[in-house]
Amino acid sequence: MALPLTPIWFVALPLLVAFSSPLWARLRLLMPLLLGVPLTLLVLAIALHPLVRTAPLVETIVIAPPLGIHLQLDSASLLLIALIGLASALVAAFLWLGDTEAHLRGRRAFVLMLLLIAGCNGLVLTGDLFNLYVFLEIAGVSAYALSALRQDAPALEAGLKYLIIGSVAAVFFLFAVVLIYLQTGSLSLGAVASSFGEIPGPMQILIGLLMLVGLGIKAELFPFNFWVPDIYQGSHPAVASLFSGILVKAFLFVLFHLVFVLLADPEVIRTWLMGLGAATMLVAETVALRQQDLRRMLAYSSLGQVGLVTLALGFGSEATLAGGLFHLVNHTLVKLLLFLLAALMLRHLLSVRLADLAGLGRVMPLAAGLFVLGALAVLGLPPLSGFVSKLWILKGFAEAQVLWPIALILLAALIEAAYYFRWIKTLYEPRAQMQEGRPLGHWVYAPVVLLAGLLILLGVAPFLVQDLFIEGAQSLLARDVNLEAMLGARP
């Protein structure tokens, strides 16, 4: 009897620890476990890397793929799994060391965060459409509850809005799954993909549209993302960092995974996806110019970056895919940094409105300095990692001789620079008296400084991780290999 290290652990371990939470609450182990579980998963992901490099790892559950459920771990999903582990471990460390509000350290928050991790991991790993829906619900319901955690008026409003819009998205997706089952008689991705081309044309379009709306709402793409800033503003910034950092990324990955697996020729909807991405990016960046609340500004900035990633992934060449995946990782790190800093500022000043932040650079020099660093990383200035990933994306477009995305990305970066520098300028404005808030311990800054260090490290030495992203892009594009692995799995 031995415990094999298979992909199921990425779902089973957080579930098990969350279910047995009363025990951990009694033993006072909640915070160590909230940090320990994602770290364990991160280590496991790194340990599985050499295995995944050679061939995608397909784990069947009870019965082999065309009939049953399977989990698929390839280079691309491994990247996302590792990112989810890293990001949630950093947020957990922030909550633990930062002596944050009691409601974020209780048993319920512990359960909700672990199940959010389990849900995101399941979304990324699963190779079965109905199972995907189940994980979409798990990730969704835990996110609704997390956003209402503080239980004051804005938090409850955020939770209610998220609940309604999230349920609508889930219904769209479920309807698409029902139609697929009616047409192909199968739910397993491999079997669906091999017979998707035989579905009549109008039906294909209907299924595609329903999926695009459902996942577009969840992945915060342009016409469906009007609700996002309210949720990010109402939730605690640490929770918002999880939404922006891992939840949206998991849904984006699901969207593109489905596109690249189901469609034999993804170029059919290339223009649509690129158009959605470009619209998301430009609209969000423009609206961000006018925001007076730091959390809303970060929410719109996050939408803009999601649009950029969609634009890059939607183009679907190997170079832009690698760049898009790298930018996805970078954006998670940057938004974690900025939202966690917003949490610190909110605790110190009790407000993160533009007017109240004036002169913060004197009171919290480290926080203000790190904010500047994060802002520069979003803008893509060397030597920070955002520069490298944007460069990869631009190079990918230039190699393919497609120039309009390059112009749009540069324009968006210009708008970004305009509003980020407005906030930076306010932070360093001279101001006579500053209200004194609660003093913060030094350890609070440890996760944030670690994030900043990662940003610089990835910017200075991108060659350390370059292979990871190129392998990820190749495995997303290698449809035949994936289908073969899914259909030929051992029972």
């Binding site: 298979t6 098990l16 459920i69 399941g122 209402a148 239980q151 047409q183």
Partner: protein, 262 residues
Amino acid sequence: MSQTPLRKRVRVQTLLLFLLCGWLLALQLTILFEHGLAGQSASVGDALLARNTETGSANAVTSVVVSYRGFDTLGEVTVLFLAATAIGLLFGGSGPAAPGRAVSESSGTGRSAPNEMMVTGVRLLFPALILLGVYVVVHGHLSPGGGFQGGVIIATAFFLRMLAEPGLVLSHTRIGLLESVSGSGFVLIGLLGLSLVGTATFLGNFLPHPVASMGQLLSAGVIPIIYVLVGIKVGAEVGAIFGDMLEGHDARSVPIQKNEGE
């Protein structure tokens, strides 16, 4: 005639939205009727039905729900657990009472006392409901029903008692214990299936499940065990939801006490 101009009385935007939605619906129905109802010749469902004997469960639906797609069931149980946690968070007494939450319900002193019919009826019904619930859970692999249905029946029995006896409060610690033991048990059985060489897959059926014993109470290997755990978990979650909502209702009906307590 009123003074308001026509464009304010008839909301043009709403009207346009209605028309757009109606058009989309008509379009979708056209596609559905043209292509959707042909039906496929062979589906996964048929294939699973043909293989049903290998689980040793007389009820083919149960072998799909608990064994072949047991991973989905684990997920659904998790969603229910999440819903119960969220309701406990919002309705239960432990959260901070936000201003504005306490003000409601002019009726005053909470629930009125239950009448004699209710009390006597529930006293008669309670054992029968519990028995029925346990029967439905335990026979999940033999007859229609199972953990989800039976669990809800058991929770309903306790809900009726809560209505009939206002003093009765379900112990949060005990419910939490049931929830966590059954949920962890489900995952642990799955992991046991993964670790044993004979099955080597998550949720694999590692207990003997000969076809010969199909139809008996002790058959189908781990399926009845998992379904009992699901029954306990569903019963505990739904009971907790009822309890939290009743407590939340009571707490909000008596705003003064609540505010002093905080």
